[in-house]
Structure formats: C-alpha cells, structure tokens
C-alpha cells in the first residue's frame, strides 16, 4: 500500500486544541450546581468519599492520557498516511465525521462492555454506586493501553483529518458529561434522537432489565438501529454499580482491580481456550459457569418474570444487585 502523497489539510483556527480542557471550568461549575440541587431537592445523591474517588480518577486519567495518548496519536497519523480520500475541513466532512465518530464510539463502548479485555479498563467508569456529575469524571487510566481507540482508526483510513476526529471525540466527551445526573427527568422528543440523562441512567443501571443497553455517545439512534436500546421505566428505578461491587475508594485499586482479576484467572487457566475466554470472553465468563455474565443474569431475570406471580421478582431487588463485570471471588 502506498502513502497518500497529498499534503495534510490545514486545521482551521476555530478548532480548539483540546475541547475537554476548555470545558473543565464548566464541569466544576455544573458539579457545584448539581450538589446544591441535590441538597435542596433530595433528587439524586452525593457522597464525599465517592466523589473524591471519582474526581481523583478523572484527574489521574488526564495524566495517564498524557503518558499513553501518544499511542493513539501515532497510530492515527500512521494510518492517515495511507488514507483513501483527501477530506478537507468542509461542512459536509464535519457532518460525516460527527456521525462517523459517534458510530465508532458506539462500537467501542459496546465492545468495552461485552469483552473483558476492554471492560477491564472501562469498568472504572461504572464502579461507583452513585450516579451524578462526578461519576462522569470517574475515568479509566488504562484505556489507551488497551487500544480502546481502535474503532476510531477506520475514520483516519477513510481520510478524515486526525484533528477533526479528535475534535469530535472531545465534543462527544463534553456532551456525555451532563447526562450523568438524576436531577433531569425525561426530555420528550429529544429522547428519540439524542442520548439523554434518562437513557444513560439505564446504561449505568445494574437492574437485569437494563443490562447491556444504551451504548450511545451523542446520538441514541445507534442503539435503536442495532437493537440495544432500552427505555427507562418508572417501576424499575435504576440501581448503579457493577456485578461485584467494589469495596474500596482507593484510586489505584479502582484503576487496576479488573486487570489483576484477569491475571489471577489466567494463572489458574488450564488451556488456551480458557486463556482466550478469560481475556476476550464476556465479563463474568468462566469455564465452569461459576460466575455469571450479563446474558445469564438477564436470562435468569426473564425466567423469574415469566414465572407464576408468587415467584416473580424474587431476589432481584438488591441495592447492590450487580451487572456487568467479573471478579474472582
């Protein structure tokens, strides 16, 4: 394959170098506003230690991003050399890139929930039992090392400028911040097209009904198209956390616990198949079925729902009933 000989299109001056950094003051202001709203209205919840853990994870993720982000940037520019088309900063390219980046995010996010190798880094974001704006900032430190950017690489091969894709990645991250709240209810027709607090509460919920759903970044249409959309229902209030909830606020433990879990499982693996399953199987996979995957949990819940009325819902209320994830226990 030959390198594309055309020069890289110049990035317009209006494109900020880092959208997320620009948004940090707004993040801080909105968290303060949400805390006050929660205090006054009792809608939603905060806990100081939980927020400290989330915010420190967010701070650490920016440092980790600086240390490991080069992997993404180098990969992006390397692939961009072999791009199929020369796409400039035109209005139609911006529209296409927005949709392309959002679709790539959907698939990254879905894989990050369905395959343990990527879940090991993404689990951090789901590890709080609270759901508020500070939870939005509870971010992974190992995402780039796990090549979580892989689904974006085809965009560079098509020919979208690296800075354009990075710009929309930033826009998507900033958009996703405000939807981590219990203080905003349903939003009418906006819910048809866009990811909203209600849709994302479902995504963070551990109730079996809501497992493996609503992976969208900005547009919820991808979940509707690919069959992963589940609406929030009033009679099943979301409960937040992971399958095996953490017993720590320690940021280092939060960042690496699932990687340690994989390593421990691999130590006990007896075949190549088991190795593969522990790394790339769904979270909760074990050769003997001793732990449960989301599919198994959901199937059990469905069975209980379909059972005669007296048995219905037995054992599915727990405040710590869990969802995605796998832990050696």
């Amino acid at each position: 394959m030959e390198r594309n000989p055309f020069p890289v299109p110049e990035t317009p001056a209006w494109v900020p170098a880092d959208v997320v950094t620009l948004a940090v003051p707004a993040f801080i202001a909105l968290v303060i506003i949400e805390m006050l709203v929660v205090r006054l209205s009792k809608r939603g919840a905060y806990e100081a230690k939980d927020s400290a853990a989330s915010l420190f994870m967010g701070f650490g993720s920016t440092l980790a991003g600086i240390l490991t982000g080069g992997l993404y940037i180098v990969s992006a520019y390397w692939i961009y050399q072999y791009r199929l088309f020369d796409i400039g900063w035109t209005w139609w390219a911006l529209v296409l890139c927005f949709f392309g980046e959002d679709l790539a995010y959907y698939w990254f996010h879905r894989i990050a929930h369905e395959r343990r190798f990527w879940w090991a880094s993404h689990i951090v974001h789901h590890s709080s039992q609270h759901y508020n704006l500070s939870t939005a900032l509870r971010q992974t430190w190992t995402g780039n090392l796990a090549l979580s950017f892989a689904t974006k690489l085809p965009l560079f091969f098509i020919g979208f400028p690296v800075e354009m894709v990075l710009f929309f990645t930033g826009v998507s991250l900033v958009y996703q911040f405000w939807i981590h709240t219990e203080t905003v209810g349903r939003m009418g027709p906006i819910e048809w097209l866009f990811n909203t607090p209600s849709h994302h509460r479902v995504h963070h919920a551990t109730n079996p009904r809501y497992l493996d759903a609503n992976y969208a970044g900005v547009l919820i249409i991808w979940d509707r198209i690919f069959g992963t959309f589940i609406p929030e229902v009033d009679h099943d209030k979301p409960r937040y956390g992971i399958v095996s909830n953490l017993g720590t606020f320690n940021p280092i433990r939060i960042a690496v616990h699932e990687w340690v879990g994989i390593a421990r499982d691999l130590r006990g693996a007896k075949s190549a198949g088991e190795w593969f399953g522990y790394i790339f199987g769904p979270p909760g996979w074990t050769p003997d079925g001793s732990r449960k995957t989301s599919k198994m949990l959901k199937a059990e819940w469905r069975e209980a729902e379909e059972a005669p009325a007296p048995q219905r819902g037995v054992g599915y209320r727990s405040a710590t009933m869990t969802s995605r994830g796998s832990h050696p226990s």
Partner: protein, 146 residues
C-alpha cells in the same frame, strides 16, 4: 521551563484545585452519611437480595461497619459500609487471604480480614466480647495467610 510545560502544569494545578474544592464542598454541605449494618435480619435480607443463598453464622462489627456471614458449603457473604452505601459480595473461602486477631482499645477483640481481590480493601471487624465468634475463628483457621 518551556511555556508548554508551564501551561500544562498550570492546567493540572487548576484541575487538582477544582477536585479539592468540590470534595470540600461535598463534605461541607453534608454528603457524609455513613451506612450501617443494623442486625442479623438486615444481613439475611441483603443476602437474599443478592441471591447468595441461606446464611449460617453471622458476625457483625460492633459499630455496624461490616458483617460476615457463613454461606454453605464454602462461601462467605460480606457486607461492608462504603460511604452511604452497603457493598455486598460473595467470596469463596479460598479468597480469604488472611484473618488476624487483635485487641482493640476499648473493645473485646477484633479481626483484620483480607480477601484476595484487588477491588476490596482489607477491613477490621470488632466485637465487644472477649472472644471472637466461633465462626470468625473457623474463618481464621481456614484462611490461606492466617
């Protein structure tokens, strides 16, 4: 120092300052409720909700910070207060990495329990009695690290 590095350091300092302000505000306006394990019935209910199976012997920390319940044949149900939430987990006995007994000030006896799970901190469970419940002794004898 190059302007780029200086700019980076300023941004990080502002971010860290923001974290400290937010956590301080959360603490100041009262988001510091502590969850507690109330009694054996509470533990049994949490175990049922978690579909952990019927509980055997139960030991509850004198301050309600943690509870341990025996689940047949070889499992341990743990309830641990984590801020305003109670975290519940089922561990196999093999995951109990260590149980160390000690004499806490102002209480009868305590046990420091460690599980081989990176996502779960070690914790202390203390009792007003001079002797630990028999079930904690059994757990200690079965622990890998003792």
């Amino acid at each position: 120092m190059s302007p780029e590095i200086l700019k980076f350091l300023v941004i990080q300092a502002i971010s860290l300052g923001g974290v400290i302000i937010l956590v301080g505000l959360a603490w100041l306006i009262g988001f510091r409720t502590r969850a507690r394990v109330l009694d054996e019935w509470h533990v049994q209910k949490l175990a049922a909700d978690e579909r952990a199976g019927p509980t055997g012997a139960i030991a509850i920390d004198a301050l309600g910070r943690v509870a341990l319940a025996e689940i047949e044949p070889d499992k341990v149900f743990v309830v641990k207060a984590l801020g305003d939430k109670l975290t519940t987990r089922v561990f196999s006995r093999a995951a109990v990495a260590g149980v160390k007994m000690y004499r806490p000030k102002g209480r009868g006896i305590g046990a420091r329990v460690r599980f081989s799970d990176a996502g779960f901190d070690d914790f202390a469970i203390e009792f007003d009695s001079r002797e630990a419940p028999a079930w904690i002794e059994r757990l200690r004898r079965g622990a890998r690290g003792k």
